[in-house]
Point group: C2
Chain length 226, copies 2
């Protein structure tokens, strides 16, 4: 049997860069987006290592307040809402529909796994017009441990009733690739601009510069198990 393809959502399918104009308006500098998202990731990992657990959107709001405080900026509630609501209406990267269609045409099972909470990911996929591609959507919120903790990946295998090595994660984040491989999944890395693998981590057997190229390689690799 071919593996089940598990797509990460934020940055892998959806373009978080679409929030940049909101950051430009709120902070006078669109690059604050990168700093904010790095803090969201850092504190989701802190929540997993030390607690307390909060859902991804709450951590997103807290990280936004921290980034504003650190710059001595008072965020208007309109700017704050615009950014946080913006996470729910991110557009798909332009190569994503093609890649998903390629994998679906090849008969592969497609699901998502994200740090976003279940209600959030449903809105995200629906708003981006991608919901129809996926059999199911999974959230780390079920196990209250953010990726790259092994429990997040294992919970998908358990829910689908397949061994963990029958999953292949597709992600644009090196840390997600490390987590999936260390948990026992296969993986495929979407090396979008500015994204590189972690030099000290295990390497996936598939890497490509965009989602379309990665999808084609996945179809080729998984068809050998058909």
């Amino acid at each position: 049997m071919p593996r089940v393809i598990v797509c990460d959502v934020n940055e892998t399918l959806l373009d978080v860069g679409a929030l940049e104009p909101h950051f430009k308006q709120a902070f006078g500098d669109g690059r604050v987006l990168q700093d904010w998202f790095a803090n969201v990731l850092l504190y989701s990992e802190v929540a997993t290592l030390a607690g307390p657990y909060s859902d991804f959107a709450s951590i997103g709001g807290a990280a936004l307040d921290m980034v504003a405080s650190a710059r001595d900026i008072t965020l208007s509630s309109a700017d704050r809402t615009r950014i946080l609501q913006g996470m729910l209406t991110l557009p798909a990267h332009p190569d994503v529909r093609d890649g998903l269609q390629t994998m679906r045409d090849a008969g592969l099972r497609l699901v998502t796994l994200t740090n976003s909470a279940p209600a959030a990911v449903q809105q995200q996929l629906t708003n981006a017009g991608l919901n129809g591609f996926f059999e199911r959507s999974f959230s780390v919120d079920t196990v209250r441990r953010f990726k790259p903790a092994a429990e997040a990946y294992r919970s998908v295998a358990d829910s689908l009733g397949v061994p963990i090595d029958r999953l292949r994660l597709v992600a644009a984040h090196a840390w997600d690739i490390v987590g999936a491989l260390r948990a026992g999944c296969a993986a495929a890395f979407v090396a979008r601009p500015g994204k590189v693998l972690y030099p000290l981590g295990p390497k996936p057997d598939i890497t490509g510069p965009d989602f379309r190229s990665v999808a084609k390689q996945i179809v080729a690799a998984e068809s050998r198990h058909a």
Copy 2:
């Protein structure tokens, strides 16, 4: 008995900002330092959540290579070495000696706990002229779990033979404060410029804008237990 004061090292005692000119030279932009250090922290947490474990300096080197790759820059080995060796020769923040002297004069026991490996922290403290203030230096390398994992703080209590609530961490990082408090320590936050507490985490009883002010508050708080 007053608590043992456990000082974080990088950014709390030592000024990582001293590396900025090296980043300016290597990347043409000193602000890349912040991006690099954020990645060092992120991947130290990935190492703890998912593995594999590597020491802090190795993660520092890997994160530097990632930041360079992400910008399509080839780092010369001289620039790479200058930055990584620079971590070993960081100067103390100007208010640190005074604050340490205040706590020592009050008879408090002082130790350090850092993500840096043992040999590195010895060099760091010696080069910064701070070694004489500390009874012992601890590294997370002993437990191979980076802060804010509870094991890092517990290993200090175990080594000193004191209950964990007899430790007080002093740090300029919100995530370190969260980790220490969740592990059962007291804490004190040095709110250096750009550093703010994590809104969703537990709060320390001591916060001040610099090390000197925090040290005075610690002496006052701990003298009640003398």
